[in-house]
Subunit: 333 residues, 2 copies
């Protein structure tokens, strides 16, 4: 089942069911008005949503043409956005940049930060920055949306709470990361609005691409139409989503509609940019720059500037974006 949220002038948008091939949609409003409301009563509403998806895919419901430009973030505002650090090679590559000092803590249990969730960006929303020189970076990640999770959840409870899967762009202002970390209170100014792909899917509907609590698909990143990276999200994910959720629930319960990010997808290799057609590349600029520093003595790849385009998509076996595509331009406020 594929779901999306269309802009309708209301803060939470309108929930729609999208066809498997992403060409058509049908409103879910006769079942539930928006995605948060669906997550609040997921078990009761799932059968009707699922049946509507089956009708749409079978052609029994015609639907309307699906245009990703109409899509908001699946949850345009969420009660919680927790970003994890599932891929250790991301941490290893950026550690020097971030001035984080305790490597040991980071491998025994996953790092998490509490992100802002009041204004999440849709797939084609501009990335609006207040200044041009804040070292703007993207971070391509997998994200899951959960049902309620009890405090001290087991791995089994955590895995069973995963309702929906998608990809996101954890927009980062690298120049502000150091201040955020140095002051001791964690990420704040360095992490403005995160962006989401137009479509979320249930783990079951991903078939073989969802197993071991990981998404086993390459996530393709293109900057200004050049391939930047296509690391496989199922490879080198040291902490899977069950581990991230268990860690998040160590001292608290998690409400339905909690979004958990995988951290920047990162596969181990030492090939600098440009990424060959069959290469792996990177899912953020900071990692590409670290590899360049090691190889050439200095970073070559610039951070994003106003006018630049970022495209991110998880690619299915047929070569097509599974959740649709994030396609954003950088704009100065």
């Amino acid at each position: 089942m594929k779901l999306a949220t269309l802009r309708n002038g209301r803060p939470d948008g309108q929930l729609v069911v999208v066809s498997r091939d992403l060409t058509r949609y049908v409103s879910a409003s006769r079942i539930v008005p928006n995605l948060q409301a669906a997550l609040d009563e997921w078990k009761a509403l799932y059968p009707a949503l699922s049946a509507l998806a089956a009708e749409l895919d079978a052609g029994a419901v015609a639907g309307q043409p699906f245009d990703p430009d109409m899509a908001a973030a699946p949850l345009p505002r969420a009660y919680q956005w927790i970003d994890g650090a599932g891929y250790l090679s991301h941490l290893e590559r950026v550690r020097s940049l971030k001035g984080s000092k305790n490597a040991e803590l980071q491998t025994s249990r996953p790092l998490l930060y509490q992100g802002g969730s009041d204004s999440l960006s849709g797939p084609t929303d501009a990335i609006t920055v207040p200044e041009a020189d804040l070292a703007l970076d993207f971070e391509a990640e997998v994200a899951v949306i959960t049902g309620p999770v009890p405090m001290r959840a087991t791995r089994e409870q955590a895995a069973a709470a995963i309702r929906l899967v998608t990809v996101c762009n954890d927009v980062s202002l690298r120049k502000l990361v150091v201040d955020d970390l140095q002051n001791g209170f964690g990420f704040f100014h360095a992490k403005p609005s995160t962006s989401f792909a137009p479509v979320v899917m249930t783990p079951e509907s991903l078939g073989d691409a969802w197993r071991d609590n990981r998404l086993h698909l390459p996530v393709r990143v293109q900057i200004n139409d050049a391939l930047f990276g296509q690391p496989n999200a199922g490879i080198d994910m040291h902490f899977d989503f069950a581990a991230l959720i268990v860690e998040a629930a160590r001292t608290r319960k998690l409400a339905a509609g909690t979004i958990i990010g995988s951290g920047t997808i990162s596969n181990r290799h030492d090939e600098p940019l440009p990424t060959r057609r069959d290469g792996i590349g990177f899912a953020c600029i900071a990692e590409a720059r670290t590899v360049e520093k090691l190889k050439y003595g200095r970073a070559r790849t610039p951070f994003l500037k106003p006018g630049d385009q970022v495209r991110i998509a998880a690619i299915g076996p047929d070569g097509q974006p599974v959740f649709g595509e994030i396609d954003q331009r950088v704009v100065l406020l």
Copy 2:
């Protein structure tokens, strides 16, 4: 105008208008179902809510008896909870405990952290801890709820966005603070669900007690019926709420329903516990312990343990709680 959210089995509860003396309430459901929905259309709905409050206070509407035990947090789940550090003497007192290293950063601009907002506790909810020895502390704070704030808001825009005022308890697990800060990603496990007083008030309705973007009232803290502190929230608040909101909006807009905390209320003095009837005392245990260490060479006041009771209330000129009272017991999971 005083508002509260009563439990009704739904995640967002039911919005009610409460009489000035906190004895009676009337449902606001003919105007708007819950507080977030009211904040989403504040300017359109404010006149009707305000008129209902006037009718209730005039006795034109009888209402029903108001029982704080029926109250959830004003926003039982919120899209954003940002806690600031407005009182520098709190930072000065706890800095040694927290291992934070950059004192200069903390005084030029207010520190902020992104708190979890998916499950906020009501005034009489238990404080549920997963283990008894996590050095459980309370932090009595003032909190405001805002309307929408644009990125790079001015002080005037920030001040004008303050819709509601109350007090809260930023529950803290001190034993986990060091790990949270050392790993570089900021508070997470150390800050479980924050608790709120039963009632929120508009700044206008606070009269002289709200000026200069600060709440000028003593906030009384009692632990197991002993007076712990009664610092005045209007004194020594170095960064007022306009400053905290401006800082929060440096790189992002803030959605309607954003809650901003003042940080632990803290007045400068060096008198250890016990607090005399006319004394100032402390609004968290960590500060009391720091003063004890300086005076006696060791901390005497224990952290909270299961069974302990925490009461927090802002006290009006008539000696009565203005927002009602937070009254929580500590319970082991």
